[in-house]
């Protein structure tokens, strides 16, 4: 166990010892850290809460086969210990030795990709990660990767052109720099970190066993993984988090196994990875992951963290319920399984006894007669919290009557909720337009949603009912 963290900053091994360091604490964000260093102020702050991408940096890590993976992330949401064992790359890293620009930068010059330029380093880093990952250019891929970068000036067209230009060019392997990075990363210590200062302790366990012990010892500590939720308490409310257990370095939570009948997905799997994992067998889940936050958020936010928030507008719960998911909880004393239908007890409350940890989610692979779709209604196409979301599951028998139906809604009540009345009405009926119209009448009054800054209650009710019609229309195509 160590009290310091080690990482590579733009090609240099960097150690922060929190006991001797007075300027930074374990809950200092990477953004604030960088901006306090000389020569690293290319990274910008536009919101300090994950909504603008001005603070985008890239985390590079060694994957199993010894190559580097690159993730663009919001540095305003990342606590310093999360850098442990990784490489942090900022816009300052990209230039060549004589100051010549990297191809993504050059492309932005040629297309006039910046006006005021305050957003530009963020775009540069998002594009850089794409380029390094050798992503094929398509409008969809560009949108997927850049939706988390806000630009108030350009209208995005020149940035899109730059993306097209540079991704169509096949990257000349940046091999020397990459090789150096790989060497440095290999030599970094990976063991767990435990920092105890006067005001706070911060544990970053490396194994599940350690995590379970820590959980037992510190039942009051705040558990976090991506910390996309928790970081705001520090940056916006200026709180000090006295006790933190950061699960993000526990490799055993990042697993996924596939059996003939089901997938078991570790709670530490990021939403971005979940999107890929679920593509073939759980397409509706994959689609929901696609419209979850921005890529920068998806690459740090986790499945377990999303369930952990138990938010009534959280995007994972409805779709996982539609897939009949089961959550697996763990403690030193063993394992407990809870159906996701019963997991949420009340507003932001889940069935998770103090010592328990969300370990994984098990999803049975649906049969051919099962139709699952998800919908997310928000003001903006992407990077928006759901106003209303829905996940529907329909099982038809061979006479086209409804064998089983599950209608799960987010944003309609204080928790994610199934429309039990409407489900009961539909049960056993013929699946046709008339049935759906009749069901809509029940559905409109089944919930009593609230009006808030996002939308009015009436809208939520109309939209909820219309989504059922949409479901039917889509399936009848």
């Amino acid at each position: 166990m160590r009290e310091s963290i080690s990482f590579v900053l733009n090609g240099k091994i960097t150690v922060i010892d929190f006991l001797s360091e007075t300027r930074f604490t374990p809950t200092t964000t990477v953004l604030n850290y960088l901006r306090s260093l000389p020569g690293h102020r290319g990274v910008k702050e536009g919101c300090a809460e994950g909504d603008c991408g001005a603070c985008t940096v890239v985390l590079a890590e060694l994957n199993g086969d010894g190559r580097l993976t690159y993730r663009a992330v919001n540095s305003c949401l990342i606590f310093l210990p999360k850098l442990h064992g990784k490489a942090l790359l900022t816009v300052e890293y990209l230039k060549g030795q004589n100051g010549q620009l990297h191809p993504v930068q050059q492309a932005l010059v040629e297309t006039h990709g910046s006006q005021c330029g305050f957003c530009t380093p963020g775009f540069v880093m998002s594009l850089y990660a794409l380029y390094q990952e050798k992503t094929e250019y398509s409008r969809e891929n560009a949108e997927e990767a850049l939706a988390g970068n806000l630009c108030r000036c350009t209208g995005y067209q020149p940035i899109l052109k730059a993306a097209e230009k540079v991704l169509k060019e096949k990257p000349a392997a940046d091999s020397e720099k990459e090789q150096k990075l790989i060497r440095l990363l290999k030599n970094l210590p990976k063991e767990s970190v435990a920092v105890q200062t006067e005001k706070q302790y911060y544990h970053l366990p490396a194994t599940l066993d350690e995590l379970l012990h820590l959980r037992q010892t510190y039942p009051q500590a705040l558990l976090l993984n991506g910390a996309t939720d928790a970081a705001l308490r520090v940056t916006k409310k200026f709180e000090t988090l006295p006790a933190v257990i950061d699960t993000s370095a526990v490799a055993e939570l990042g697993f996924f196994t596939k059996t003939e009948r089901s997938f078991i997905i570790g709670s530490g799997v990021t939403i971005q990875r979940l999107k890929d994992i679920s593509r073939d067998h759980f397409p509706a889940l994959s689609r929901m992951c696609r419209v979850f936050g921005s890529r920068q958020i998806r690459q740090i936010a986790t499945l377990g963290g999303n369930l952990g928030t138990a938010s009534p507008i959280g995007d994972m719960l409805p779709v996982l319920m539609a897939y009949d998911g089961t959550v697996i909880l763990k403690s030193l004393n063993g394992e407990r399984r809870v159906s996701l239908d019963e997991f949420v007890l009340g507003y932001r409350q889940i069935d998770l006894k103090e010592e328990k940890i969300i370990y994984a989610v098990e999803l049975p692979i649906p049969g051919a007669n099962v139709h699952i779709r998800t919908y997310k209604i928000s003001k903006r196409r992407e990077v928006d919290i759901s106003t209303v979301s829905a996940a529907f599951r329909l099982e038809l028998n061979n006479k086209e009557t409804i064998e089983r139906i599950k209608l799960v809604y987010g944003g309609m009540a204080e928790t994610t909720k199934r429309a039990y009345k409407t489900e009961a009405f539909l049960q056993g009926k013929a699946w046709n337009g008339e049935t759906v119209l009749a069901a809509q009448k029940i559905l409109v009054d089944e919930f009593t949603p609230i009006s808030d800054a996002r939308s009015g209650a009436d809208f939520r009710r109309i939209a909820a009912a219309n989504l059922l019609l949409k479901f039917w229309q889509e399936l009848s195509k």
Partner: protein, 770 residues
């Protein structure tokens, strides 16, 4: 060319005609011919500042760090309307790291908001009004110290809605009531009532638009540093001279003791046109503690306290003859200025686009308990155009005409307000080019007739704005002994590309490569005066001044060459960076050879923006066409395509120009579909204080955009033939989208933004299914 004279200059800037004395060249530099083959101007050359910006080395005010710099944060009123009974800062002052606290108790009484209030006023008129300002060793300590300040408030009744604030029994923000100036601003020509009486078709409708917030990516921020009694301020501002004068006045120090510098800034859109309280507070704190101070708004403050586009309620009544001739238009509107003076009028487009003999407008600017408004990219025009162009479409439908034909029927060849001819007007060409590009013939002949769940529609809207600029604007040009050139101008590049276009113009005239020209802007100590960067006046005001300076430099070089070559100046010509004997072209010398003869000297010229032509109206025009998809099940609107066809004079740089349009259109989409400041009726507090709740357009929201320029140049206006584009780009977008939504659905949505919420309400009318 070098002679000059002083004139009374008058041109439109943001919200009003501005009049001032200005020095102009006695003899105008001949404008570039419309067909002139220019080598650098007009080309999509790279941005002058591109390297700095993409490499991350560009330094913004937000990035400036000085030794021993302290950080300031502001305590803001938590109530919509209150009076301070007492403030106790003792706990805050005791905190380690806190350096000074400023409140109404210890700050000098500095008038603010055009004298209606003070820097620290005990009467607080909105949730966000400044109560105290703390300087500390770190921003975090300053923020924590704010929580330790104890303020006893007397909470007052508030009003957060302009309509309610106009009622006689509404809580008053000012003794004289809530209507700014106590009365409406009225404009009349002809007799509207008589026009309505004679009309075959009369339509009356009410529209409303929301408050939107500028939200530039770089927050409003300043870094201030005293050196003895001299003050240097770096400010993220659109007007270095405005800030300099506000500082000198507020602190009661001579103007020449204040230097304001702005190099790179992360956008402004009007919200940084005037000095902010924060800069003055930082200067006061810095003087007290003897250290430099940085003050920067956080995103919440950006959404509360540094400006917004006022909302509007607009009642329009139009009358026309059966054949589509507009006979009368009336416009009654009110809008919320917020708690302090700013303009909320929006009838200008209605007064000035169409030929209509009888017009009456009546506009109320109303004070409410909310953050003050500030000009926001074409103030008034964006709101006004939305309502006007919806009405025009309605009139077209009622008279059985195509919306474009209706507009052409009422096309005005002269400015209907002044009766003067335009320097240029190419709106007709814009209509034609835009209609062709969008495929206007494919719109639904009957609105809403598109079948299916997803309905498609086409719509368009016209645009008018000023954007001609004028004097006073000056630029200095320096030539160094190596032949390199510096352009100095007191304008600021707010991201729009001013550095680039000024370098282009200087390089064009002096026939130099771009990399021989450097540009220095926005520094009150070294750059000659230019106006604030707003009103789309920057390019049409500054480029002619730079061209003038460069032409003078050419003349000067000829004079020097003549002396050196022992020839009369008339014999010398300036060709491609060389001074050539006209009679014996073999005898010549390069500029650098000549400059070696001047040794250490730096040659300097001062250029001026020439006077505007007398007897002409100067306007920019355009039309935007939108194609939308309306999802009738979820209420989602997707903008598929925008065609923007505009008359903007000469194109200086095609890429910069497209970029202005794309950005303006993007903000127009935000205004049309998602941006909205929401105030909680019960508390008067803003609910949309972060970017999660205040939604702006992102890449996936963007349609395909086509920009068509129908103008070549406006040589009558100025020597570069340039008009402005920043605001024109943005004005008609929302109106065009709204008209397209009508064409798609057959339902007229009269309230912006067109959220899924409103769309479903409109389509289904309440809870019941349609």
């Amino acid at each position: 060319m070098a002679d000059k004279k002083v004139i009374k200059s008058r041109y439109f800037f943001e919200e009003d005609f501005e009049e001032q004395l200005a020095e102009v060249p006695a003899e105008k530099v001949a404008a570039w011919d419309k067909k002139a083959k220019l080598k650098i101007v007009g080309k999509g050359v790279d941005r002058y500042d591109a390297y700095d910006k993409v490499s991350g080395t560009a330094r913004y005010t937000f990035d400036i760090q000085l030794p021993h710099m302290a950080y300031a944060k502001t305590l803001r009123c938590p109530y919509a309307h209150a009076c301070i009974k007492s403030i106790d800062v003792s706990q805050a002052e005791k905190m380690p790291g806190v350096l000074a606290v400023l409140t109404a108790d210890n700050a000098p009484k500095i008038k603010w908001y055009r004298g209606t209030s003070y820097l620290f006023d005990r009467h607080l008129r909105y949730a966000g009004d400044e109560v105290a300002c703390v300087a500390a060793k770190s921003e975090r300590i300053a923020a924590q110290a704010l929580k330790k300040i104890k303020v006893e408030y007397e909470v007052l009744p508030f009003v957060a809605d302009a309509g309610k604030a106009m009622q006689p029994d509404a809580p008053k923000l000012y003794e004289n009531g809530n209507i700014a100036g106590g009365k409406p601003s009225v404009y009349e020509r002809g007799n509207a009532d008589e026009g309505f009486n004679r009309a075959d078709v009369v339509v009356e409708e009410t529209f409303d638009t929301q408050v939107v917030v500028h939200n530039p990516t770089e927050p409003h921020c300043s870094v201030v540093n005293w050196d003895g009694d001299k003050l240097t301020v770096w400010d993220s501002t659109q007007s270095v001279f405005g800030v300099r004068n506000a500082l000198a006045d507020s602190l009661d120090i001579p103007a020449n003791h204040v230097r304001v510098i702005k190099k790179y800034m992360g956008g402004g859109f009007g919200s940084k046109l005037a000095a902010g309280k924060y800069t003055i507070m930082a200067a006061l704190l810095a003087r007290t503690i003897g250290r430099p101070v940085k003050i920067s708004m956080d995103r919440e403050e950006m959404n509360l306290a540094v400006g917004n586009r006022p909302d509007s309620v607009q009642k329009l009544k139009f009358g026309a003859k059966k054949d589509g001739t507009l006979l009368a238009m009336s416009h009654y509107s009110y809008g919320a200025a917020g708690a302090y003076p700013s303009g909320a009028g929006c009838s200008w487009p209605l007064r000035s686009i169409y030929k209509c003999p009888n017009v009456r407008t009546e506009e109320y600017t109303v004070f409410i308990n909310a953050g003050p408004g500030r000009p926001f990219r074409a103030p008034g025009h964006v709101q006004g155009t939305f309502a006007l162009e919806a009405m025009i479409d309605t009139m077209a439908e009622k008279t059985g005409m195509d919306p474009l034909d209706f507009r052409l029927k009422n096309y005005s060849e002269i400015d209907p307000v002044s009766g003067q001819p335009y320097t240029t007007k190419r709106l007709r060409e814009a209509y034609e080019a835009g209609a062709k590009a969008i495929g206007w013939e494919n719109r639904n002949k009957k609105p809403g007739s598109d079948s299916g769940v997803i309905k498609r529609g086409l719509g368009m809207a016209s645009q008018i704005w000023w954007g001609g600029g004028g004097p006073p604007t000056y630029a200095n040009l320096k030539m160094n002994r190596d032949g390199s050139v510096e352009v100095l101008c007191g304008t600021q590049d707010i991201g729009t590309g001013t550095y680039t276009i000024l370098a282009q113009v200087a390089a064009e005239v002096l026939e130099l490569p771009m990399d021989k020209v450097s540009v220095i802007l926005g520094d009150t100590a070294v750059t000659p005066y230019a106006h604030g960067s707003g009103g789309s006046v920057t390019a049409p005001s500054t480029t002619p001044a730079v061209r003038h300076a460069a032409e003078l430099m050419k003349e000067k070089l000829i004079g020097y060459a003549a002396a050196q070559m022992n020839l009369p100046p008339e014999r010398i010509a300036y060709r491609s960076g060389e001074l050539v004997d006209r009679d014996n072209p073999a005898q010549k010398m390069s500029v650098s050879a000549l400059m070696r003869k001047v040794r250490e000297q730096v040659l300097v010229t001062t250029g001026m923006r020439e006077a505007n032509p007398e007897g002409y109206a100067v306007n920019t025009f355009g039309a935007q066409f939108a194609e939308v998809e309306v999802h009738t099940d979820t209420g989602k609107i997707v903008v598929k395509r925008i065609v923007a066809a505009h008359d903007i004079g000469r194109t200086l740089n095609r890429k910069l120009l497209e970029n202005q349009f794309e950005g303006g259109i993007m903000q127009g989409i935000g205004f049309a579909l998602m941006e909205e400041r929401v105030i909680d009726r019960n508390t008067g507090k803003v609910l949309t204080t972060n970017l999660e709740n205040y939604k702006m357009t992102l890449l996936p929201d963007m349609p395909e955009i086509e920009v068509i320029i129908v103008s070549d140049a406006d040589p009558l206006l100025n020597n570069t033939g340039v008009k402005g584009i920043g605001e024109p780009a943005h004005i008609p977008t929302a109106a065009a989208i709204a008209n397209a939504v009508y064409n798609a659905t057959g339902v007229r949505f009269k309230s912006l933004p067109l959220t899924p919420d409103k769309v479903l309400q409109g389509l289904y009318g309440g809870v019941k299914q349609g």
